[in-house]
Subunit: 679 residues, 3 copies
């Protein structure tokens, strides 16, 4: 793994700006025009050859790198660096024809065909072999090319194909299980196969969870999800290993498909030097800015705060939703600054020049169909040059609040044959996040076994699976003064998804009874449409824990149904800290009231008082981003005179009262710091 | 078939209480604790080994009965009887591996995989052979075991797999057709293959109704449904034959999957000594008590009033709905007494001890995750002991009203390419039943060719298929003084689903014109959302017959559309009785008004005047159940002093005014009868 | 191709009346009754043997024509002509058994089974061979039969099977592509395979667009749709060739499945002598009369105004919708006259005698289940005799307005990965048509490269694909004085679905900038539920073009969102004509206001002022149809005295004030013309 200075040795320490560059779609006379326009827009990094395999190896075993040589030479000659793809994301047509067994098979046994993208089974030995050959060729050829500053491994792992039910995958699954469990009796114990006559006698009997008459065995399914993520991760590791061997100094990354459950991104991230991610909030919703912020915080958290890259965002609209709205004038810039504020040192787009054919021709490009007279191009060019003019930044966002997200627990939560199959982690996280965003509270994402001591408040949406170690970690955190919010349907089961009930302990959270000060006696999932009124006026949905207090106090109680009068939300002093339990799902405005209470108890404050709709992110070095998402001008009172980096040096005079134009941004730094930089 | 005294010789004549016991999920040290708790709860019957095949025959042809021996010995030693499963419900993993052709194939040609349950093709010769071997082994081994009081054949036939499209099933289908039709021309005639160029020339050309470009041939489809039910019934018969041979004295049953269209339960029931059924009303709805009552009446009706067993109900919540609500405190007891009132001599649960892993770990158990301190356990224990204290009961529920349900007609009704594909039998039955339940009118389910003379009122929801024999039966019933309500889309077609129109008779109910006193000239299915206003203020939906009176009188007419002024609901004196026709689907409150009219005409009365929400069932011997589903106390005036069997003998003094606590039950008997028993 | 007099030589010049006659469903004693009833109803043409293959060739290679001989002889003996089917629409069971590869395979790889209809792959060489043999046999046998007046080729091509994914189809697809593109590089260029690594190196690599991980390549998909239509058309051409060879004088037709996207009907129509079509408006909607009119105008337009035949309509209700309402008393007659008014010289039904079994037994028949006393029969008989009494008509409907519908553009419009996947051509056409229908403006359907000079107003709903030739054609039309309305998402792409943006022209309609006088800078699809208020009070949905005026004037502007103030609807003088652009989708009442404006500008007027709900169609010879769809009597003032052909000659006196009874029709002719005919 490269450290920051090694990474910066290649990538530089300034902001990166650019996008996916697919010159193979265009005749070479366009290329020259491309680099001219790139320079005009301040582009300093492009990703090349992501979908290049068919061009690089048009016939199995016959390579053609000449065109790519010319592309890299041209870019380098014009001072544009390259994030070079390993080109393994979409195998060519010959793969499907010569090796049809590489085509993935879905749950119903239907094999995918050639003609779109990502049509490979992650566990296919042939795919992996052919991909490895290509990666090695690429690395050998370009290891010394001066344009190469980073490797872009594959593309959006798991975007379309998360699982495969081919015979070779079944074989790999059995092998994976054998590694994990060693013996068949252990497999039987962990999967609980005594139920429904599922006991196995040998590995050959074990199959992927295909089309079935009734519910899956939940641990079978959970292991299948883990295995499926691991298969994709093995593809990543295979590429990493080759690249590390041949180009040990070149940082490498793979672009994640936004905030997604498809694969265990945190585990993947440990393989790469730098996190990069694709962020596509839906402009049709008011929450698109919050969604972009969430995904940015997620990206930053994957490698514990290290700067990261927005590998793809849309210059304007996308084409893959059923209805694809525009980004309004100025909106793309605001979202971009929100990403920078949350640690992005690179703002890149899909794609440089909008296609005129193919499946993404209605996905906007930096150079759109309507060319350089277009609003889109003008916004791109302006932002590129604005970012270029920024001084070197510290990238030290400062979060005091953390959200726990365990990928395993996420998988375990959203299963069939559960008390409430509509209980969604994404929705819970979205609600927590939205409330915090509106109060300008920055959030890190952590896992339940993460060192939490740096946070004043930790929020844990439903964690059905919780290991004993993690439970101990949470308790230590609270004991030492931390504030922890847990929510319903948490801590019931061990990592095998077995209910913790070896003894009759009488509660559904046996490991956390003392910390939370409650017994969870039963739970009563609520029909959709039912709104539960709580004693303090709050409203809740979806779930009602039947709680008994064992030391905790009730913040709110239910007022109806058979659980009328029973506690719904509790608070418990535990050691030096406090632990809260949400025995239901609060509606948004009630959740806001609840979180205000916990934030206050935990001593967490917004960095700045601002009108609604203004996003604030403050860094440890005092750098402060103010993003006005409203169409009104607003005046913000600063704690001390600060200077706005986005104004030309001439006009950068420190002010204590900042006028923020509609849909405008300020990047503020304390006066002294700025002076230091300017000198 | 065993008679009642033979059955009672094994099962005893007192109430049965218990549940599914799956000791294979637990280590043996738990077993001892289990039997202690069973005794504490008054458990006297458990079902064992339902999912035991993989444990009993872990490797093909290698049996291991030792563990089951120990289970049965232990139970017997503690006075607990066993309803022993034949264990054929879920074949082990080796079956899928060694004999993949036993795995069923769905309509699209996708084969089901191993890993949940019931993954066998009912017509598979290999499955049947292996199952027969197991049943024989079980019967031979346990035929003399003193714990064995009943056989539990397979489990919930048709729950997940109702059809299979494997080649061996196609072969079986052809064989079945050949048996039925003897010749190809007869098949062609009955299926009406002259249309759409479907004529066959030999049996080999005939296939199951797979994935098709357009609509199925309806008689092809109907025969396929009959065949598919028959294939499952053959599995039942295969087991019955072996068990009758080896253990002729042991009563046998198979537990039905509630009130369901999956298989022809009435036909199945004729194979078994005792009906047992699984009843899972949804606690999320107000109608759960009505649904449970309906299913109970259904179970009683399958063998014409003979006592039956609730083989499974949930001690609390289930896990297989998308949202699974609790049963409220006391609710399970009320539902259980409703079942007893409707003829259940056994109240059993799924399952004894709640699983900690597997697909049903969130399905409640009699011993739940939260153990003996839980509400669930306490309710179970209380009810078990209460039932144990009851004297022997007569089980003589007394229904004066019958609902006609022909499985064939149900299949024929709910087909594609029909006038109104939303016309649902379940919904019609539900509406009729609900109105009667609210008036505490007990209902039997009968078939159209059943002897109806014992009923004062018979209700026949849509019966598109009606044989000439059945039509004659209905007419005889009315002629002799019966009251019959028929509803739209009835009596159009013969059992081959051919329209009765060999001559131009001008009416869609040619066999019933004189009885109903109407011609059905046309019918006009109504768009969803359309509410038809009738002349007397009633409201109706879905359907409008275009009727002409031929002797009948109109109770209500349509008021709108092209059929304005035409009769909608008619009444006709026929012989000594009356026949009504519903030429539309009345909305619930209108149906209530209509049924009150017919009940009054037929002289049917509620057994007792009670406040709303109190369920009353009276038996021929005077035993009367009062179940207060409300959360208020109610006082009920009895016709004569009666004694409540649920009060301890000391306090059992006859009263004429009964105070019924909220969510409480009374089982009343006339004073004299009680005294006789007590002596 | 036969000319009109050749067609009339066989078919006669009077109205045709009849239906599908399937005597194979009935015993021969019914046949005699059939012809008697046919004569009673004025039937003079029946379609025979449409689903006759299984009866004509019950065993592969063994033919049985005797029954058909008898049918044709009987019909001829009774003066009834025959539209003889080639019987290839539904292959017999032996085809599926002996040649399973003829069964089509769907997108997921699932093969269709035998048992409904149309279960053949259009590209199957075996199907085609067997079908050709049958057609030849039929033609040879009946070429001289005096009953034969027309060939009915196959039936409703593409109704259920529009595509097939069998290996032989893949082979045919590759062949089709090779014919079209000649070289692989050209295929790659046109499909834009450089994107997503889809480049091909040889034909063997190309596959149909099967089940895929992500979006299809749009040009791949578009070619697949074209190919699939062509495969079906090849079946038609194969039959046409045989029939032309053997019976050059017999007109031939194939009945289209109503107005449908399934195949390119206009291209098919060029193969046949006469257009015939099946028209099944849904009686459940108020718009059924408008839908029937639209389909009639469509049918007339397929061969540029030539008289056509309603090959199928329902005498009353159908059975294939989920809910199938009746046609109200009189409704079928009104619809029939609307069809005649729009050029139908034949009114035929599916089917003669309602089946008593099979998939369509609930589809009404001319002789329904309820026989000759039924309303349906009486309406049929009355209409048949009324049409028989009509004098010879001119069939000269006179449309001044045209709607552009390019099948290619329709396919291209409704694709995945588009800006707004809900943008429906059917809906747009429906809205345009509905407004015009209500003003009694007759419409022709044309293609974008059609000679438009005969029309005063041309409406072009979204045409995403527009060839340069077509664009020039539109411009010429306007320049010469035409009025043209274009709508959003038009003219973006060339026939390969490539965006027209070789140069940065800054607009999404580069070929039409001067004609429309606008630049389309961006487009912003709108979320469903969003209603856009325009400056003049109009309302719009789905779409907002971001326009810049370049000479045009804005008729209405947007008032909200980022595009507030920008033009929404524009009008531009171009040469002697006017071109309008709808930059959004107007809601119905706003569209009505807009179209009134354009009609007025174009000088298009209703033929007659009539109350709402009265349909008027006027022919060039003055014949005028008035159809009263209301349940009120209305008085219509005529421009001059006219006589009503539907009144008996005795009462046919010219009137200038016409009283039209509720649900009644008048066929008026100027007095003089009528007198000429009568003499």
């Amino acid at each position: 793994m490269l450290n920051t200075s090694q990474i910066n040795a290649r990538l530089g320490s300034k902001m990166l700006f650019g996008g996916d560059y697919n010159p193979e779609q265009w005749s070479e006379d366009v290329w020259q025009q491309d680099v001219e326009l790139m320079k005009e827009a301040g582009v300093n990094l492009v990703s090349v050859a992501i979908f290049g395999w068919a061009r690089l190896e048009p016939v199995e075993g016959q390579y053609d790198f000449d065109w790519l040589d010319r592309v890299l030479d041209l870019l380098h000659a014009n001072g544009i660096s390259v994030n070079l793809a390993t080109a393994t994301a979409s195998p060519p047509a010959w793969m499907a024809l010569n090796h049809p067994e590489t085509l993935p098979i879905d749950r119903s046994g239907v094999q995918y065909g050639f003609g779109s993208r990502q049509q490979y089974s992650p566990s296919s030995p042939i795919y992996r072999e052919k991909a490895a050959l290509l990666v090695r060729k690429m690395a050998e050829r370009y290891k010394d090319h001066p344009a190469l500053v980073m490797w872009h491994i594959n593309n959006e792992y798991g975007c379309h194909i998360q699982e495969c039910y081919a015979p070779h995958t079944a074989e790999a699954f059995r092998h994976w299980l054998e590694q994990k469990y060693q013996t068949i009796p252990e497999l039987n114990r962990v999967w609980g196969t005594a139920f429904w006559s599922q006991g196995y006698q040998n590995w050959a009997e074990v199959q992927p969870p295909r089309h079935m008459p009734a519910f899956y065995n939940p641990t079978h399914w959970l292991d299948w999800r883990r295995f499926s993520s691991d298969m994709i991760q093995e593809c990543l590791e295979m590429e990493v290993q080759i690249l590390r061997e041949i180009t040990p100094d070149v940082p490498l990354n793979t672009n994640f498909l936004g905030f997604s459950k498809a694969v265990d991104q945190r585990s993947f991230a440990q393989q790469e030097d730098l996190v990069s991610i694709d962020i596509y909030p839906d402009p049709a919703t008011q929450e698109s800015k919050i969604d972009a912020a969430l995904q940015s915080d997620w990206a930053r958290s994957l490698k514990d705060g290290q700067p990261w890259i927005v590998m793809e965002q849309a210059p304007n609209q996308v084409q893959w939703r059923p209805i694809n709205r525009l980004k309004k004038p100025g909106q793309m810039r605001l979202l971009s600054y929100s990403m920078v504020a949350r640690g992005a040192k690179g703002i890149l787009y899909f794609q440089w020049r909008q296609s005129i054919s193919g499946s993404e021709k209605y996905h906007s490009g930096m150079v759109p169909h309507t060319g350089t007279s277009s609003r889109t191009w003008q916004e791109i060019r302006a932002l590129g040059n604005e970012l270029k003019a920024l001084p070197e930044l510290s990238f030290t966002p400062d979060a005091k609040v953390a959200l726990i997200l365990d990928w395993d627990a996420w998988q375990a939560l959203e299963q069939e044959s559960h008390p409430h199959t509509g209980l969604s982690l994404m929705e819970q996280i979205g609600h927590f996040y939205q409330v915090l965003w509106k109060q300008n509270i920055l959030v890190d994402f952590v896992t339940s076994d993460h060192d939490l001591s740096g946070y004043q408040l930790v929020l844990a949406p439903s964690l059905p699976i919780l290991s004993e170690t993690a439970a101990a970690n949470l308790k230590t955190y609270v004991q030492n003064g931390g504030h922890l919010v847990m929510s319903c349907f948490s801590g019931l089961a061990d990592p095998n998804d077995h209910i913790y009930s070896e003894t009759f302990n009488g509660s559904y959270n046996p490991l956390l009874i003392d910390m939370l000060g409650i017994l969870i006696r039963e739970f009563d999932p609520q029909s959709s449409g039912t709104v539960l009124e709580l004693s303090n006026g709050w409203q809740a949905v979806q779930w009602a824990d039947v709680l008994e207090l064992q030391g905790a106090t009730a913040l709110a109680s239910f007022t109806s149904d058979h659980f009328a009068g029973a506690p719904a939300i509790t608070e418990n002093q535990y050691g030096k800290g406090k632990a809260y339990h949400l025995g239901t799902q609060l509606q948004l405005s009630s959740l806001e009231a609840f979180l205000k209470h916990t934030l206050q108890n935990a001593g967490v404050q917004s960095p700045l008082e601002v009108p609604e709709g203004i996003e604030v992110v403050a860094w440890k070095d005092g750098t402060t981003f103010l993003i006005n998402h409203t169409s009104q001008e607003h005046t913000v009172l600063l704690p001390a005179p600060m200077q706005n980096l986005l104004q030309s040096a001439a006009t950068q005079t420190a002010q204590q009262e900042l006028k923020l134009a509609p849909m405008d941004v300020a990047v503020l730094q304390p006066q002294t710091q700025l002076e230091a930089i300017l000198q």
